[in-house]
């Protein structure tokens, strides 16, 4: 008799089994070294559209280098990267950005001289096109464009619940909020693939919970594919659909969280069994 009781279940709308998902990015046999020091050795894995993919591993396992390879900051000596079906070897970071790869950084890399609002607005740079002439005049097209993007940015500010710090210079914010602003900046790019480098490092429990919620919401609300590096295993197990584990630049496991957690190689790596 009460319509609600029966209908209130959450419908997992649009959720597909991993196998049915389209491949967004594939890394094939990638190796990277700096002057003889091998950072990454022969790593292959893929990221499927719409999933949350975690990359984990002990310190110095090459996780951040992997992200740097994906968004074109480092160029691997060997191997290929396939992005939306197209193979690429070399790519400038700004090209990666324009193709829809955004990221956050391990040690917050915000623009310190700007406010929260401007930092997030900077994420819209690629989507704004008014040229110098219009910018100089301001009134008219440039101003309208600015307002149009300001609206989008305000959506993000609302989404991340950072209204109160909108006009605060980011340098003055506590660390946890800076991380949130950085996420906002990456979101402003409306990326297809969002790379998060230790989004919860240095946060307290409450901040971690908030951040986890935001990450899940981003994934569900905008359908953004997310690849994240994280040390907190609890978070990784909760959030991610699949996990790839690196150790000393090599891949040692890949699969759903439960499976990876049970893998002997992973346990060894984390307990520091010598090689």
């Amino acid at each position: 008799m009460n319509a609600f009781v029966t209908d209130k279940t959450l419908a997992p709308a649009g959720e597909l089994e991993p196998a049915e998902r389209e491949e967004l990015l594939r890394v094939d046999n990638v190796s990277l070294s700096f002057g003889g020091v091998k950072a990454i050795t022969d790593i292959s894995f893929d990221i499927l559209k719409g999933e949350i993919r975690a990359i984990i591993g002990p310190n110095g396992a090459g996780k951040t280098s992997m992200l740097n390879v994906i968004n074109g900051f480092y160029h691997p000596q060997e191997g290929t990267i396939t992005w939306r079906g197209k193979v690429r070897r070399k790519m400038k970071p700004y090209e990666a950005a324009s193709q829809g790869i955004a990221r956050t950084f391990q040690n917050v890399a915000l623009f310190k001289g700007m406010t929260t609002l401007d930092n997030i607005m900077s994420g819209r740079s690629l989507k704004m096109h008014r040229n110098f002439f219009w910018q100089v005049l301001w009134r008219g097209p440039a101003e309208n464009e600015e307002i149009e993007h300001r609206r989008k940015v305000e959506d993000i500010i609302d989404f991340l619940e950072i209204q109160a710090i909108r006009k605060t210079p980011v340098g003055r914010l506590p660390y946890g909020l800076q991380k949130r602003v950085e996420l906002g900046r990456a979101l402003a790019m409306e990326p297809e693939l969002l790379l998060l480098d230790e989004p919860m490092a240095g946060m307290n429990l409450e901040e971690k919970e908030d951040m986890s919620r935001f990450i899940v919401d981003v994934n569900q609300e905008f359908g953004t594919t997310i690849a994240l590096i994280e040390h907190d295993m609890g978070v990784v197990m909760d959030l991610s659909d699949r996990v790839v584990v690196l150790d000393y630049g090599k891949k040692i496991a890949d699969g759903p969280p439960e499976e990876v957690q049970a893998s002997q190689a992973v346990i060894d790596a984390y307990l520091g069994v010598s090689h």
Partner: protein, 661 residues
């Protein structure tokens, strides 16, 4: 058009009708603002009318009809206010609910009110309602304002606010006559219809649903507007819970009848900034808000440089001396006037500016007693802050302080159209056009509260002072009588004592006894700093409390209270004859206070029985042993010999009466 709303005092009698009127008269004036997405999104009266109409018609198409109840849950948002009027337009009754109340209580209210629809703020509220759908079988549909996180929910009985409005728009577009039909629908409504149901969280028992008619609200609101000369140019900030009668009257009833603009803040975190930006002209806050603002001012000034602090202190002294007098239009010397002007430039003006109260025409505080010092502070800055006494059952207004007749210890004169009387037992009773229709599904309670001829029991004891102002002294049920027949209001006496910074707690005894006597707890911080200044050494609370100098200091305070009491004919009989300073601090860990730091009178009476005896048997000292719980949870006992002092009492004609032994 200024003042036009009050020029036609008895115009439209329901909010939907007033809405149409406002859309016509104030069409392009801003009616609502909400800080959202970084700017103040604004709606004019005609836009608001559009919005409400579309939503209302949308609701109708979802099956909402006359007599249905609709829960309104969420923070202050224009859309939620509109939802209330939209419901009223189709004959439904909105039931605003405290959005932060625990699920159990909310479930009771919604179930009791038999709500059919609920209009809520966001996912959090939706989840809460879904979780209690078993207890609220009448609930069929939920409408939410913010879609975030709700994308994947089943939408058969869940609707986006905008989609409901779209439905309304579409229907109007299809059938041009619909808008007219909609207006016709409520044109037959009358002022005696139920406008809204507000649940009061009684101190005991289940919440009761107070049914208020349009007449209650509209007439009260118009009276309020006329009393403070409010018109369509006012700006208010809507930040208090929507389920509270105060907010309902200030942000809806008065806003509609006067046509002024209601501003909703961005979030609770930004309220200070939002208030600063809007600078409301009509401001309402419970005392704790004013207390917090004052504390913030003081804390910040602590960090200021020496020069600024000196300047601040100096000008605040000036303000304390002459500020209120200037505000009240009294005679003040030229030099003081000049200094005050200078202070206005350097301190008061900037201070008011930072608080966002620069434009405040009139401000009210109510809900509980405000500390006289806090009240004075704001008034001395030149802010027209006033007190009022009201209740949900009265549609707020019972008494108001008229301009120029502001006294810290009274709550004002009866509001327009309000009749007031004091019962034999001291209880205040009133009768007014705002008196509620009744409690929903609770005739028993209605009969208990409202007499057949329309008088309402407030539950508060009070007295009417010589100048005609009402003074609330205590809860009626706590007021007792001395054996001599004099009225004994313990809380009144305790509060008077507690206004002294040196006194932290006081417990008064006297009901069915020969005289009034009190236990006193000194304030360790205040008295401690006094001790430091005067080189008084002490090792513990107990030692400080027993210090003769401290005793003398407290004695002088008690004496002052007695003098004050002697001024009031009704209270003069219950002057304090004896007092003692307790050897330990009253503590919630020992069960002497509630967790909200309220005195548990009966428990204390039992626990300190020997001391009470000593108060009444005339002894001057008493040795006691008390069980205590230490902070680490260990139990122990402290022993002390407590001194008891006799006090002088005064005649009403100020003559000194010998202390009765």
């Amino acid at each position: 058009m200024v003042g036009s709303a009050s020029a036609s005092p008895r115009g439209e009698d329901t909010f939907p009708k007033i809405l149409l009127h406002n859309a016509k008269v104030f069409g392009s004036r801003t009616a609502f603002r909400e800080k959202d997405f970084g700017i103040w999104q604004s709606w004019t009266w005609s836009e608001v009318c559009e919005e409400i109409r579309a939503f209302s018609i949308g609701l109708q198409s979802l099956g909402l009809g006359a007599g249905d109840k609709v829960a309104i849950v969420g923070a202050n948002r224009p859309r939620l206010y509109w939802a209330m009027v939209a419901c009223q337009a189709v004959g439904a009754v909105p039931v605003p609910v405290y959005s932060d109340s625990v699920a159990e209580e909310m479930a009771f209210v919604l179930g009791h009110a038999e709500v059919k629809f609920a209009v809520v703020e966001d996912q959090e509220q939706v989840d809460k309602l879904l979780s209690m759908s078993d207890e609220v079988p009448s609930l069929t549909d939920i409408i939410y304002d913010e879609a975030r996180g709700l994308r994947d929910y089943d939408h058969t009985h869940l609707h986006d606010y905008a989609s409901v409005q779209d439905k309304g728009h579409a229907l109007v577009a299809k059938d041009g006559a619909l808008a007219g039909k909609w207006a016709e629908g409520f044109s037959g409504g009358t002022g005696s219809d139920i406008a809204v149901m507000l649940y009061t969280s009684g101190t005991t028992g289940r919440p009761k649903g107070v049914m208020l008619s349009f007449d209650n609200l509209v007439i009260s609101a118009r009276n309020g507007n006329a009393f403070d000369k409010l018109d369509e140019t006012e700006e208010v900030l809507a930040y208090l819970p929507m389920a509270w009668i105060g907010d309902h009257v200030f942000s809806l009833a008065q806003a509609f009848t006067a046509g002024y603009c209601v501003n909703c803040p961005e979030s609770m975190d930004t309220i200070d900034v939002d208030r600063l930006e809007i600078a409301p002209t009509y401001f309402f806050a419970p005392p704790r808000v004013f207390e917090n603002m004052l504390t913030q001012i003081m804390v910040r000034m602590e960090d200021a440089g020496k020069f600024k602090r000196r300047m601040f202190d100096a000008f605040m002294d000036v303000a304390r001396n002459v500020g209120e007098k200037i505000l009240n239009g009294e005679d003040v010397g030229f030099k003081d006037r000049l200094l005050y002007r200078l202070g206005e430039l350097c301190v008061y003006g900037p201070l008011k500016n930072r608080m966002g109260l620069t434009r405040m025409k009139v401000g009210y505080t109510a809900g509980e007693a405000i500390g006289p010092e806090i009240f004075q502070f704001y008034r001395s800055l030149g802010l027209n802050l006033k007190q009022l006494y009201g209740q949900t059952e009265a549609s707020v207004y019972i008494t108001l302080q008229p301009d120029g007749e502001i006294f810290g210890d009274t709550v004002g004169k009866p509001a327009p159209d309000v009749e007031l009387k004091i019962e034999e037992n001291g209880e205040v009773m009133y009768r007014s056009p705002g008196v509620f229709v009744g409690y929903f599904k609770n005739d028993e309670a209605t009969e208990k509260t409202k007499t057949p001829d329309g008088w309402v029991h407030t539950g508060d004891a009070g007295i009417i002072a010589d100048n005609g102002h009402l003074k609330i002294i205590d809860r009626a049920k706590d007021v007792g009588k001395l054996n001599g027949g004099a009225l004994f209001a313990p809380k009144y006496i305790e509060n008077k004592l507690k206004f002294f910074p040196n006194i932290k707690e006081a417990v008064a005894f006297g009901h069915e006894r020969d005289m009034a006597a009190v236990f006193i707890n000194i304030d360790l911080t205040a008295v401690g700093s006094w001790a430091e200044r005067n080189n008084v050494n002490y090792a513990s609370y107990q030692e400080l409390a027993a210090n003769p100098d401290v005793y003398s200091m407290i004695e002088s305070h008690v004496d002052q209270v007695n003098k004050d009491l002697a001024q009031e004919p009704m209270m003069a009989g219950a002057q304090i004859k004896r007092f003692l300073i307790l050897h330990k601090e009253l503590d919630a860990d020992d069960g002497e206070l509630t967790r909200t730091q309220k005195v548990r009178r009966s428990f204390i009476a039992e626990r300190y029985e020997p001391l009470i005896e000593a108060l009444y048997d005339g002894s001057t000292t008493k040795h006691v042993r008390t069980e205590v719980t230490f902070e680490d949870g260990r139990k122990g006992a402290i022993e002390a010999t407590v001194e008891i002092r006799d006090m002088t009492t005064y005649d009403t004609d100020k003559g000194i009466q010998e202390a009765a032994e």
